[in-house]
Subunit: 131 residues, 2 copies
């Protein structure tokens, strides 16, 4: 399902347990069993969560001898951050533009239809494309 990277990251963080793991890892590396210790679930379940985080690129684990530590990777966080900021900014710009339009409309406003205003949509050329 999570074919694309962004989806994987968002999905990974959609689970409270996984977010908690990330939170703890942000304080320092840990091994699987250390990570598992606070939870009342099986170690295998924790391992599965870890795999999800790893597939999302949120976490890396230097392969090598036994106690393979788990380390947080922030690049994935940046990925999300970029996406969020882009759209937040767009909305805010739009709000400012809309305020202007509203102010202008106020001058023309004289019709009154009860229940809901009926404001002209500034159109939406709608370019699909997640990019």
């Amino acid at each position: 399902m999570a074919t694309d990277a962004l989806s994987r990251v968002f999905a990974a963080l959609a689970d409270p347990t996984r977010r908690d793991m990330v939170a703890r890892l942000s304080e320092g590396d840990a091994t699987v069993s250390q990570l598992a210790e606070p939870y009342r679930m099986t170690l295998q379940a924790v391992y599965k969560h870890l795999r999800v985080l790893e597939d999302a690129g949120l976490v890396s684990r230097p392969r090598g001898p036994q106690p393979r530590p788990v380390r947080l990777e922030i690049e994935a966080l940046d990925l999300m951050d970029t996406w969020i900021e882009r759209h937040r900014d767009r909305v805010e710009r739009r709000y400012r533009r809309l305020d202007a339009v509203l102010a202008e409309m106020k001058r023309d406003e004289h019709e009154e239809d009860h229940g809901g205003g009926h404001r002209g949509r500034p159109d939406a050329a709608g370019h699909p494309g997640d990019s």
Copy 2:
């Protein structure tokens, strides 16, 4: 599953279709059918996606007569943003601290190895307060 707000927001954005809807809504409000038009899925499916976004607080729809427009709400984005920044910062601080420790160790390298840098277990004490 999504008992808590943050989980709902992350989960909502874990789907490419939903992210695309958010992207388009960031350009301007739209009705359900307008939103549905670009996709090759049923209108009902789109409506379901919309419900998910709404439950996550990412979208609001002024109730009233006919063409109930869908509007993006940025507060939910802020919620995620806060979470992400908090942990990103923690990791970065930790990196800096670690660099310092490393640098100091380098200096002591030819000193007597006397109870060296006690780098160790973050240990439990886990306060799973995700907040």
